[in-house]
Each structure stands twice: as structure tokens, then as C-alpha cells.
């Protein structure tokens, strides 16, 4: 187990180093941020002064070396636009994104697994078919367009839910969260639903496939012969056996939920790090782009590690296979 953890962490560090190099060199070619930051009428001296103060006059490798050295101390440069440490800016926005992503994942799980169970138990029924047709639609609908539809129907036509921003927030341990106030919760519903839709379709299909595989097994028939109620069979015997792939997929997909939050945040004006990265791309705010990337890479390495460990904890067969290696 320890060997597995250590090798995974080392792999993760390698990925991070490679990404930092690719990103830094790439972003360096993006254009000249000085052009955007200063008054076009500014004279050559001001220009040179700004360039020097941002460290843009040094050779690329020197900038990268400095960047790497600073990054190891948690300093990923200052945002040109906000004039504050980029990493602080990202971390400040991260809770909002994580809140949205967790809400979306919860929504997908709470709706997807029951719907998938129904579709799997009665695949030929009208309900089962409707659920499956809905999941195909869920796969095909472009996320951003569904966001617009949600805004149109629920905030503009019906006027039920707000579509803009995070609403009222409460500080929990110094982090502002929305879901504890009625206003914040109302603001959370539409973006969370939007973000959840794709995962919902995925979970329905996964659960249904699992149920169809497990139901004909001998132990289910035995449980039924023993006279167990349908609820107990599903709740205990079926769920337990289909849960392993589901948990893995939820874990792996959490990263993609965070990535897709970029789209949802832009539509619903949710003040998370996804919206920040889009704005930074427009403004050519290089340090923020690089810092966002490094944070995302760390996040992914952590998520993959957690999923790997969870998987081997849940399924003894995986653990045994991993041992000799």
C-alpha cells in the first residue's frame, strides 16, 4: 500500500513538472501583456519600466527557473490585472467552484442512482425506456446551451430562480459558502443542475448496466428464495455489488466536473476559478493562467490518487493484484 502511494505521488510530481514546463513555455508565446496593461500613449521609458518590473525583459529560461524556484515556495507570480499573488487569487475563488462541483455531483448521485435502479429493474417498461431516452438526450445536449435554456425557463419565463452570481453567502471557517442561506441555495440550484446533467446521464447508464448484470446472479435469486423483501434485496445485495464501479466513476468524473465548471460559471456568473480563468485568458493575465493550471494539476493528481486508494480499499481483488507490483 505504502509503495503504491509513494509511486503515485512521485508520478504526480513528474506530471506537474512536465506540465509547468509546457505551460510556461507556451504561455510565454501568448503575446505581450505590457501592450494591454499600459496606456498606448505611454513613452518608451514607462514601457521599459513596466517590462522590467514584471520581469519580462529576462530570457525565457531565466524566467522559468525563477518561476520554478518561486513556485516551490508557493509563489506563482502576481496577477498583472489584480496586482495580487496569483495563487491567492485562485485559492480565493476555489471554494465557490468546489461548492458548485460538489453540489452538482451530489445532485447527479441522488437522482442518477435511483433512476438507474428503476431503469435496470424494469428495462422494458415505459418508465425504463423514458429514463434511457432521457439519458441519451443528456449525453447529446451541449452543457452550455442547457444552461441558457435553464435561465430562459426558470428565471426569465417563470421567474422562480435567480441566474446570476452566488447570492448571499455565510462564512464557514472563513470560507464564504452559498448553500447555508435560502438566497444562496436558490442561486446554487440552476448552475448545479446544469453541471450535473451530463454526469446524471452517465450515472443512470452505469447503474442500469450494473443492475442488469447483477440481477440474474445466483445470490440474488437465493435472497429472493429466502423471502427477503424487494427493498432489502436492492438496498443490500444489489447496491453493494454495483457500487464499486460507480464510486470509481464518481471520483474520476469529479475532476471533469471541476473542469466543466468553467462553462457553467461563465454562464451563471458564478464567481469561481473557472470564470477567473476565462477572464484571465481575455486579459492575457499570464501568472493567473499558469497558477490555475498548476492548481488544477495538483487537484487532478490528488483526485486520481484518492480514487486509486478508494478502489483498492473497496475491492479486495484489486488490492491483491496490486501487491506483487
Amino acid at each position: 500500500m505504502t509503495a503504491l502511494v509513494v509511486s503515485r505521488i512521485l508520478q504526480g510530481l513528474g506530471v506537474m513538472l512536465a506540465m509547468s514546463l509546457i505551460v510556461f513555455v507556451g504561455v510565454y508565446a501568448i503575446g505581450d501583456p505590457v501592450e494591454i496593461l499600459i496606456n498606448p500613449d505611454a513613452d518608451q521609458a514607462t514601457r521599459a519600466e513596466v517590462t522590467r518590473s514584471l520581469g519580462l525583459d529576462r530570457p525565457v529560461w531565466e524566467q522559468y527557473g525563477l518561476f520554478l524556484f518561486n513556485a516551490l515556495q508557493g509563489d506563482l507570480g502576481r496577477s498583472f490585472v489584480f496586482n495580487m499573488p496569483a495563487i491567492e487569487l485562485i485559492l480565493e475563488r476555489m471554494p465557490a467552484t468546489l461548492e458548485l462541483a460538489i453540489a452538482a455531483t451530489l445532485l447527479a448521485v441522488l437522482l442518477g442512482i435511483p433512476l438507474g435502479l428503476v431503469a435496470g429493474m424494469k428495462p422494458a417498461s415505459r418508465t425504463g425506456r423514458t429514463i434511457m431516452a432521457g439519458s441519451i438526450l443528456g449525453f447529446s445536449l451541449p452543457t452550455f446551451w442547457v444552461g441558457l435554456l435553464l435561465i430562459l425557463v426558470f428565471s426569465i419565463w417563470l421567474g422562480w430562480l435567480p441566474s446570476f452570481g452566488q447570492g448571499e453567502t455565510v462564512d464557514v471557517l472563513g470560507i464564504p459558502v452559498s448553500f447555508l442561506t435560502a438566497d444562496g441555495l436558490a442561486h446554487l440550484i440552476l448552475p448545479a443542475l446544469n453541471l450535473a446533467l451530463f454526469k446524471l446521464a452517465l450515472l443512470i447508464r452505469l447503474t442500469r448496466a450494473g443492475v442488469k448484470e447483477v440481477m440474474p446472479q445466483d445470490y440474488i435469486r437465493f435472497a429472493r428464495a429466502k423471502g427477503l423483501t424487494g427493498r432489502r434485496i436492492i438496498g443490500l445485495h444489489v447496491l453493494k455489488n454495483i457500487l464499486i464501479p460507480i464510486v470509481t466513476v464518481i471520483g474520476i468524473e469529479f475532476g471533469s466536473v471541476v473542469a466543466f465548471a468553467v462553462v457553467t460559471e461563465s454562464i451563471f456568473n458564478w464567481p469561481g476559478m473557472g470564470k477567473l480563468i476565462i477572464e484571465s485568458i481575455y486579459m492575457l493575465d499570464r501568472p493567473v493562467i499558469v497558477a490555475y493550471l498548476m492548481v488544477i494539476v495538483v487537484l487532478f493528481v490528488v483526485i486520481n490518487l484518492v480514487v486509486d486508494l478508494l478502489y483498492s480499499a473497496l475491492d479486495p481483488r484489486v488490492r491483491l493484484k496490486a501487491m506483487p507490483a
Binding site: 506530471v15 504561455v27 441519451i136 447529446s140 446551451w145 441558457l148 473542469a259 462553462v263 454562464i267 480563468i277
Partner: protein, 309 residues
């Protein structure tokens, strides 16, 4: 052996003997078993046709500024224009006929999606196939690249690439190719590894054919079926991804208004209840993606050996 006699008698004089169907006809018959897939294929064909002949079908050239009138801006669907033409789907913020704009947008969306999917197919297949054929270190390097690529969601990789490269048609296509090649490489490698040990490969090697000839003439044709499935699925993904990136304002430039850009342009008018500018291009996008997915689903079922009837 009635086939032997075909040369002597005309085909129509032997009505009782069913001619052996060609592979293609077999394939078509099997495909037609799913009505949804046939509908998807027909709809897709209509959309592709409309996209190719957009300049002939569209009642208005939406990018000819001379033919636009700002007085026509944001007219609801069905309104008649000043010169008697009916805007069936309404007009956008600049007074463009939305139906024409959608036809042109479809053209751009499909061209970018299909071309990048095909390029990704070529690159991914070449890498995956050579990796599987030569094995060892080359294979290991390529597969590590595939792993690295696949551990990040496509939208994120594309976004970062475009943040670095900037907006543009070629740049968007590069981003789409970069996020897609790995799927082809992985698929073709898995098939090629299974094919490599078959007898015809041994035979080809015994004949001392060149590597390139074995790869392209013998190995590649046998790896094609699963690749076609991946190609259809990835085309749908490419179209969606391009629309998403363009919607976010990092994909195609304003001068190449794909469906995603049309939807983005309508977004700012949505708050006033001017829904059609965003909604109709979205429906066009949905229909394209849905029909590609229906076709892809059926292809996958047909080629899945576990479901073989």
C-alpha cells in the same frame, strides 16, 4: 453453385435463387435494424447537404453587410421583412435572418468538427499502429503520452491550448486534434495487438514484405471497424467541444460564426426574453449531435462481438 452460371444467363432469368448479398448490402441491412439509427442517418445527411449548399439554400447572405438592415434587428420568428421576405426563425441583433445564419454556422461547425476528427484519426492511428507493430520502447512512450493526455478532461486541455495559441480556425482545430488523437491511438493499438499474432500477419512476414506494406496493406484494413465507431463518436464530441469553446469566446474568431458563436451572440439578448437568437442555433446543434450519436450507437452495437446475433 448457381453463381458459376451467372456469366451465361442474364441475372433476371433466375428469380428463385437469391443472389449472395454483397458485404455492403449486408452491412446496410444490419444497420437498418434500428429505426432510430436510420432516422439519425437521414437527418444527418439532410444537415450535411444543407451545410454544403448553404449559399444556394439560404434566402440571405448573412455576412453581406449591404443586404442587412439594422431596422430588422431582433424581429421575432415569422415576422415579414420590409421587402416581403418572411424571417421564419426571426433575426439576430444585427438584423440577420437567423435561418440563413444557422445554415452558414452549420457549415463552419461541421467543417471544423469533421476535419479535426479526421486529422486526429490519421495522427492517432499512425501512432497507435506503429506503436503496436514495433512494440517495446516506442509503444511505451506513445502509450504514456496517451495516458497523460487522457488523465485531463478534453475541455480543459483545449481551453489551455487556446489560451496559449489565441483564437482562430486553425488553432481551434489544432486544439481539437490534440485532445482527440489519443482515443484513436488507444483503440487501434488494442485491435492491432490482437491482430498482430494472427496467421495472415505471420504469412506477410514470411513473404518478407516491407514494414510499411504490412502496416498499411495488411494490419490497417483489419483494424478499421472499431476505428469507424470511434470516429463517429469523436465527431459528435468535436462539434460539441468547438461550440463550447466558441461560446466561451476562445474558439473560432467572430469572422467565422459557428453555431457556438451564434448562441453566444444571442446570450446577451436572452435576459429580455429574446429567446430565438440563442435557442434556434442550439436546436440545430443538438440535432446534429443527436443524429451522429444515434448512428454511432448502432455502429457500435453492430461491431460489438458480445452482442452478435
Amino acid at each position: 453453385m448457381t453463381d458459376m452460371s451467372v456469366g451465361r444467363q442474364p441475372a433476371k432469368t433466375k428469380p428463385n435463387v437469391p443472389r449472395p448479398r454483397s458485404q455492403l448490402a449486408d452491412f446496410a441491412a444490419q444497420f437498418a435494424e434500428s429505426r432510430a439509427a436510420v432516422i439519425g442517418l437521414v437527418v444527418l445527411a439532410v444537415m450535411v447537404f444543407a451545410a454544403i449548399f448553404a449559399p444556394l439554400i439560404a434566402p440571405q447572405d448573412p455576412y453581406d453587410l449591404a443586404s442587412l438592415s439594422i431596422l430588422d434587428a431582433r424581429l421575432p420568428p415569422g415576422t415579414e421583412s420590409m421587402n416581403g421576405y418572411v424571417f421564419w426563425l426571426g433575426t439576430d441583433g444585427l438584423g440577420r435572418d437567423l435561418f440563413s445564419a444557422i445554415l452558414y454556422g452549420l457549415r463552419i461547425s461541421l467543417a471544423v468538427g469533421v476535419m479535426s476528427a479526421v486529422f486526429a484519426l490519421i495522427i492517432g492511428t499512425s501512432l497507435g499502429l506503429t506503436g503496436a507493430y514495433f512494440g517495446r520502447r516506442l509503444d511505451a512512450v506513445i502509450m504514456r503520452l496517451v495516458d497523460l493526455q487522457m488523465s485531463f478532461p478534453p475541455i480543459l486541455v483545449a481551453l489551455i491550448l487556446l489560451a496559449v495559441l489565441g483564437r482562430g480556425v486553425e488553432k481551434t482545430m489544432i486544439a481539437l486534434i490534440v485532445v482527440q488523437w489519443a482515443y484513436y491511438a488507444r483503440t487501434v493499438r488494442a485491435t492491432a495487438l490482437a491482430e498482430r499474432s494472427k496467421e495472415y500477419m505471420d504469412a506477410a512476414r514470411c513473404l518478407r514484405l516491407g514494414h510499411i506494406q504490412i502496416l498499411t496493406r495488411h494490419l490497417l484494413p483489419n483494424c478499421l471497424p472499431p476505428l469507424m465507431v470511434v470516429l463517429t463518436v469523436q465527431m459528435a464530441h468535436a462539434v460539441t467541444l468547438e461550440a463550447t469553446l466558441s461560446f466561451l469566446g476562445v474558439g473560432l474568431p467572430e469572422t467565422q460564426p459557428s453555431l457556438g458563436l451564434l448562441i453566444a451572440n444571442g446570450f446577451r439578448y436572452l435576459i429580455n426574453g429574446t429567446y430565438w437568437i440563442s435557442i434556434f442555433p442550439g436546436i440545430a446543434l443538438l440535432v446534429v449531435i443527436l443524429s451522429i450519436n444515434l448512428v454511432g450507437d448502432q455502429l457500435r452495437d453492430m461491431l460489438n462481438p458480445r452482442l452478435n446475433r
